[in-house]
Amino acid sequence: MIVTHALTKRFGRTLAVDAVDLHVGAGDRYGLLGPNGSGKTTLVRMMLGLVYATSGDIEILGRPVPKRIADVLPDVGALMEGPGAYAHLSGRRNLALLDAAGPRGDRRTRRRRIDEALDRVGLATVDQRPVKTYSLGMRQRLGLAGALLRRPRLLILDEPTNGLDPQGIKEIRELLIELNEDGTTVFLSSHLLAEIEQLCTRAGIVDRGRLVIEDELTALRAATGRVLVATPDAAHAAAVLDGQLESRDGDRLVIWHDDPAALNARLVEAGVRVRSIHAERRTLEQVVLDATGPGSDRFGEPE
């Protein structure tokens, strides 16, 4: 769906995006994760033809961008860094104007599509109030409704949960998963680990303009080769597993072992009562912290 090759963008002397090779497959829920100022927004804007790349290629839905952007965008729904709406008009009026402005905005179905989109994002009962009276969360939902108006094949969302409360974030997450299961590819950028971890099937991590890791989320969160065991017979267990024990904290043990099932069988055989046992997985946070430096909106930090 999205492929970039050696994509680079320079603003004056600043290198915003540095030789990024990105691969988003059809059906993915792809999360682009990175600290503030790492180039996520510039990357998204280049995909949408708003910012022109200094060098490198972009291909979206199999077509080169920005050369054939006009063929690509009708199939793409986008939310970029917060919603944009005419503040003195109502949400419905805003959606109607946006729909009328471009291709495939069939007038006969417009009303129905607007109602459906508003319903999906939880604004079904919104009235004629102007957008300037909306809360940030409502505006964000309105922006998302705009992106969904024409059932896009690909959603490109830059920080989609900005300004939403926890309940709203959960609703949007469920909506995106539902859309994805109906066949929409979802690409989103975020600086929130939890968001990517809970929503995405694939993730890329950017740091200072470079894509440092890109992989399936399950691979990124692979087992570390350690097993966490809790037992009331900790001392006995430690004696049984001498040599494989990495650390012990009261009745909790960290053991070097690949297979929790086999380990459990061995412990029980030796008469150790096991209260809990599970393989340790890397958290995405560890992956990110290993892969990235400090946020680039901090200045004066040693490199």
Binding site: R45, V51, A70, L73, P83, G84, Y86, R93, L97, G143
Partner: protein, 277 residues
Amino acid sequence: MIRVELRKLLLRPRIWASVALLCLLPAIVAVFLATADFPPPPGQGGAFLSAVVNDGALYPAAALALVLPLFLPIAVAVVAGDSVAGEASGGTLRYLLVRPVGRTRLLAAKLVALAVYVTAAIALVVVTSLVLGVLLFGTGAAVTPGGQPAGAISLSGSPLSSSGLAWRLLGAIGYIVLSMLGFAAITVLLSTMTDSALGAALGGLAVLITSSVLETLDAAAPVKPYLPTHYWLSWIDFFRDPVFWRNIDHGLLLQAGYIVVFFGAAWANFTTKDITS
């Protein structure tokens, strides 16, 4: 896209306020003239003002002379300055562009909407001032009893038939619209260069003021024929008998030049720039 742009203009309270203000100024002047009961001496005050007291049908021309130097350009600068920069600062520009609306198409729609706005604003000024003029000053026949045919007197002193007055008025409106578009082109270029609608509008007005100042400066004589405001007042020549075409032709040519150069520059800038707003 043009329809969408026009609808956006119609839905803006600001647009209606600007048109109302444009119509209000001539109305205020008309009321004062009507109640004062004596005409301003010829050659003083705004153009046509001494003549309108005798014939209200000429008041639209006087109204245009009142709003043209400052009011109309301010209104045009505000709308033109808002055209691209307003969308950028409101965050709607990026959504329009990924809708997708081609950049050239968007800019062209903005220009057409701007032209329609200027034409409609002037037309409304003409209509309201015509109604007011006839109501307050009569149509000439009333003040010259004795059967002389009703009709305005041209600036050259010969009478004008009402059809003659009508086409002259239409010509003047067309000329003013073109003059305003030449000025709007400069402001639209500024509007594509900044995200501040106010900044673009003020920039346009700065150009206007600079041009007006140079216009009064003898030392600037060599550049005067090329100043955007130099031929603005030549629409008055439509009301001479016969019509004095020389300055009108020069003015049309000059404004066409401004429109081509500055809209061209606005297009070149807008279609190649990074949208980071």
